[in-house]
Symmetry: C2
Subunit: 339 residues, 2 copies
DNA sequence: TTGAAAGCGTTACCAG
DNA sequence: CTGGTAACGCTTTCAA
């Protein structure tokens, strides 16, 4: 049986409350008593019982993270930096993957709510915002990352996906691509945002658009490489084959490059390709991949900081939106002189 | 305030215990009462309070995972499959990264112990087994993955690293490499095991070994690519340059290939390279990388199953060792005809 | 500065 | 089949 505060109090001939106070750094305890308690705590290797504490304070010192998939480098990085930041402050991070399945996600969130985690951090695959009404009702503070929902006011940390899309597209325009296609992502805010950024940039630069140049929405799951390959094949079959492609993410871009090379064409000479995410292995690929860096680590850190601030403040502050800056990283897949 | 069992009992005019029994599927409750309770539970959207339950049962329904780094594909995959398997059984997975820092790891484990997680799953960067004495003392069941410690008897799930090393080395021998070097990993069981496998295979096939062909131990952190590159450079400077290299993991192999190509040599014609881990992007690399597949997902699933069995059994069963099969995956980096 | 009493919501033990 | 009583280990409130 583990040591309890009662044991320590008995050993020292003082009250349990005094022990509790010392442990929580309350200052209405004499220095002498404090030292005695601290010494004894060390001696018997006492550790507080979180369950008991939770029961009375209502706090679990646990934060839940829901992401589609940890195999996706982006989310692994997020989880990594989140857990580090939270652990430092004494919070544990409970992870859970929900694929891109809104129903599974809802189910997971329900469980997290039932367990009364102190805060939730969510990269949601939900298609509407009913999920979040539930969260709000439960009163558990939450931070959305990566994906957002225009119709609800919520804490959000992520990049500006329209900027991402425009950024990538403009880069293709600048290197002289005249026919630019977009392999689009899922029906989520990044998917739509990057698409809009692409469309805006195309319009702004009076670029001609061709039928079929925007692929159908696709889930951004682990199979996005295959999907990128498949969709690129279709693009290559068009009469007016594109000479520049902006892919929703690096996985799809990799698939696209695969298809292009398989067709006997060159990257970037025949078709330039840019992705998004700046995976850590982008530079080691068959054709090193140009990409938009999302500063993933910073997203994680900001989300952690935001979540912690929500935990600490007793009032419910107004939802905050934090936009992280992005960077264009040019590699071989778009490295060509103006044609 | 959330609904409690007491509320439900009062509403229905029955005892709290009866409610509790229904909720835990005890069968000494009449079907009628059971239905009434269940209905009411739905109506008021009752969820049990885990903290209260924990306090009395001593179980947290939480499993802790300690890995060096989630950026490493291998560990991300492990975390992914673990969380899925555990969540299905109602357990949460709390993650934590400890780099390859034994002290930080110990600290993390202490915190996990203090929180009384029901079980721990650990890919340890520890250099000795004192850590585990602590775990044993605390009585928390734990499962080691990937790294093991010969001097303690503990639950373990992972591959046989000597087989991995021998497998990879033999493959290089078979394709006709006459001078085979090893970029070795850290001072952990996989690092040592793969090295031994390499040495054994070399001896068995009477292969000549050259001075400097086994690099110095290196941490297997996220920077292993750089380290692979650096160490490969040294090998290329030797008078007797190797024509085959077995790298501790795929990251190092990628770095090695980088160095080889930079030196104006060809892979696999001049130097064949094989790694270990079979990262999901191995096929998309500059030179698609031959590798040993560790069946990572299976490792995660087995570890989860093993952890769950420990949780469920009240007695402390004898430690179990589960060895997962590996597969050789041949790609371009070793694809050459016998010379 | 100290501490006794009163819970927090649940489950275990036993009696009805 | 049902339920009262007593924990579980801690914090909060309030009085000494």
């Amino acid at each position: 049986m583990p040591v309890t505060m009662k044991d320590i109090a008995r050993d020292l001939g003082i009250g349990v409350i005094t022990v509790s106070k010392v442990l929580r750094n309350k200052d209405d305890v004499s220095e002498k008593t404090r030292q005695r308690v601290l010494t004894r705590v060390k001696e018997v290797n006492y550790t507080p019982n979180f369950a008991a504490r939770s029961l009375v304070t209502g706090r679990t010192y646990l934060v839940g993270l829901v992401v589609p998939d940890l195999l996706h480098t982006f989310f692994a990085q997020i989880a990594n930096s989140l857990s580090e930041a939270l652990l430092r402050k004494g919070y544990g991070l409970v992870i859970s993957t929900a694929g891109e399945d809104p129903e599974l996600e809802m189910h997971t969130l329900d469980r997290f709510l039932a367990r009364r985690f102190d805060a939730l951090i969510i990269a949601s695959g939900a298609t509407n915002s009913t999920t979040f009404a539930r969260l709000r009702e439960a009163g558990t503070p939450f931070v959305l990352i990566d994906r957002r929902f225009p119709d609800i006011e919520a804490n959000y940390v992520g990049v500006d996906d329209e900027v991402v899309g425009a950024f990538a597209t403009k880069h293709l325009i600048e290197i002289g691509c005249s026919r630019i296609a977009h392999l689009r992502g899922p029906e989520t805010s990044p998917g739509r945002g990057r698409l809009n950024g692409y469309l805006n940039a195309m319009a702004e630069h009076k670029m001609k658009s061709f039928p079929g140049y925007v692929s159908a929405p696709k889930m951004a799951d682990v199979h996005s490489r295959e999907s990128g390959e498949e969709q690129m094949k279709k693009l290559l079959d068009l009469r007016q084959r594109p000479n520049g492609v902006f892919a929703y993410n690096d996985s799809m871009a990799i698939g696209a490059i695969h298809a292009i090379l398989d067709a006997g064409l060159r990257v970037p000479e025949d078709v330039a390709v840019i992705g998004c995410g700046n995976f850590h292995y982008d530079n080691e690929l068959r054709v090193p991949l140009s990409s938009i860096d999302q500063n993933t680590e910073q997203i994680g850190q900001c989300a952690a900081r935001l979540a912690l601030s929500l935990l600490e403040s007793k009032s419910r502050p107004r939802p905050k939106t934090v936009i992280i800056e992005t960077q264009l990283v040019i590699r071989a897949s778009t490295d060509r002189k103006r044609q």
